[in-house]
């Protein structure tokens, strides 16, 4: 029996889908059987980020309506045989499915997969309730911005009432130099306010945008700093104790020399 993990945030645009895609891929790279479920009906993105858009035949709503079997709707990622995606419908909206239906699908998927990663839509309405319904655990994604942290706090409050219990936190798009200058909320500030366990810190990395546009999750790029962060998150989920990576960007010879001469 696998584990259902919902990736949620409250606020939009903080990187739920990116986190889902990369976490799913990273787990698959570690020989786990993973199925990603996109519950953002009407605004599906996960298939685009994974580069699987053109292979969609059936979707989540087709399964709930009984137009196809669950197995038919699953897209197998050819790059990793362990990875599948259940895409959302683009033509309907969140009310097209009920939490009970999602719960049933996730329960069914948990029989065949080790991890079912559920990508949650932004907001706290029906879409959120749908996504949370089948989950055993939750990951809350936030960026070090006041508005995002406020919404994450709200979401944590709502999750406490569900069976998923205390969620784990991913702080996304961290810019170390801004944190150091005090222009951005500190990791400590965020943790102090939200008071939940930290699963990982992902640095702001241009590779993420580039790879998302190419339909290849950044985890596949072994150089990118965000890639290492996501792989560390996956390892922590599997129970390994991985220390947090250093956030400072690597300094070149020149900047180190300049620092040596006291030029900053």
């Amino acid at each position: 029996m696998g584990i259902g993990i919902v990736v949620t945030s409250g606020k939009g645009g903080v990187g739920k889908t990116t986190t889902s895609a990369n976490l799913g891929t990273a787990l698959a790279l570690m020989d786990q059987k993973v199925c990603m479920v996109d519950t953002d009906i009407g605004l599906r993105n996960l298939d685009v980020v994974m580069g699987l858009e053109n292979r969609i035949i059936y979707d989540l709503v087709d399964v709930t309506e009984g137009s196809c079997r669950l197995q038919q709707a699953l897209i197998k990622d050819k790059r990793f045989e362990n990875l599948s995606l259940l895409p959302a419908a683009q033509t309907k909206d969140k009310t097209a499915v009920t939490p009970e239906q999602i719960e049933k699908i996730v329960t069914e998927l948990k029989r065949d997969f080790d991890y079912v990663i559920i990508d949650c839509p932004a907001g706290i309405e029906q879409g959120f309730r749908n996504a949370v319904a089948g989950a055993d655990q939750a990951i809350v994604v936030t960026t070090p911005e006041k508005a995002a942290v406020r919404d994450a706090d709200r979401i944590i409050g709502l999750l406490e009432r569900e069976k998923v219990g205390m969620p784990k936190l991913v702080i996304n798009r961290v810019r170390s130099h801004m944190m150091k200058n005090g222009d951005m909320l500190d990791v400590e500030d965020v943790l102090d306010l939200l008071a939940i366990d930290l699963l990982g810190v992902v640095p702001d990395d241009e590779h993420v945008i580039k790879s998302a546009n190419q339909g290849e999750p950044v985890v596949m790029n072994h150089e990118a700093r965000a890639s290492i962060a996501y792989r560390n998150i996956a390892r922590r989920l599997l129970g390994e104790a991985v220390p947090l990576m250093k956030l400072e960007e690597k300094q070149g010879v020149f900047s180190r020399m300049r620092k040596f001469f006291g030029l900053k």
Binding site: R150, D153, R154, I156, G157, L158, E160, L193, A195
Partner: protein
């Protein structure tokens, strides 16, 4: 014939009549005796100008329906006005509700954004109040944590209450109908253990060690409140 103890004793006081109801007989016997007295035997006393009546039930619990029945019987006399019906006993639920109301409640949780904690009486919160979280109380609020959200003490209008926090950093504070936010009267808040109170309709925030001078009565035990 043996003398049967009267089930209903009527006494006159300066505030009107007091009906003392026997609390050991059955309710039906009580009703029968009350009817007898009202309708037949006590005609003279029970007529004349308007009289206030207090009904004392003793240690008998009467449901609202039973009380209504007693009221109806007494009301047959146009000049009798029921002032109050009093019983020495209350139901378990009422007792619990009463206890919750007057007592001091302790809560252990974090009040997160969008959550509301509403209480009757005083509240001791062991946890933080995050921005966007709301704590509201009829009495005092004591937060053993970081108060970053919104706290409203004395929501029913009590202006003598305080809001205390281990770390005082609120978005907004309200005591009774006075609203205040940091940067107004208490800009010098340093985020330590402080409490907010009202003085001449103005909210002030002081360090905790001033509390004995400003609200010494808080330390006194409140019984039967």
């Amino acid at each position: 014939m043996t003398t049967v103890k009267s089930k209903v004793t009527i006494k006159g006081t300066k505030d009107g009549l007091v009906f003392l109801m026997d609390d050991t007989c059955s309710f039906d016997d009580l009703v029968a005796d009350l009817r007898e007295k009202i309708e037949h035997s006590h005609q003279q006393i029970l007529s004349g100008p308007l009289i206030r009546v207090s009904v004392k039930l003793g240690k008998r619990y009467c449901t609202p329906e039973q009380q209504e029945l007693l009221t109806q019987i007494i009301r047959q006399r146009g000049n009798l006005v029921i002032h109050l019906i009093e019983s020495d006993v209350i139901t378990r639920e009422e007792a619990i509700a009463e206890r919750l109301k007057s007592r001091f409640s302790v809560r252990v949780n974090t009040v997160r954004s969008g959550q509301v904690l509403d209480f009757d009486g005083d509240l001791l919160l062991l946890g933080d109040v995050n921005p966007g979280g709301i704590v509201r109380c009829t009495g005092n609020i004591y937060v053993m944590g970081h108060l970053r959200g919104y706290a409203h003490a004395g929501i029913t209008g009590n202006r003598d209450v305080i809001i205390a926090a281990a770390v005082m950093n609120p978005t907004q504070l309200r005591i009774a109908d006075i609203v205040s936010k940091p940067g107004e009267e208490w800009a010098n808040s340093f985020g330590g253990t402080e409490f907010a109170y009202l003085e001449n309709d103005t909210m002030l925030v002081a360090k905790m060690n001033y509390l004995p001078r400003i609200r010494p009565e808080l330390g006194e035990c409140k019984l039967g409140d």
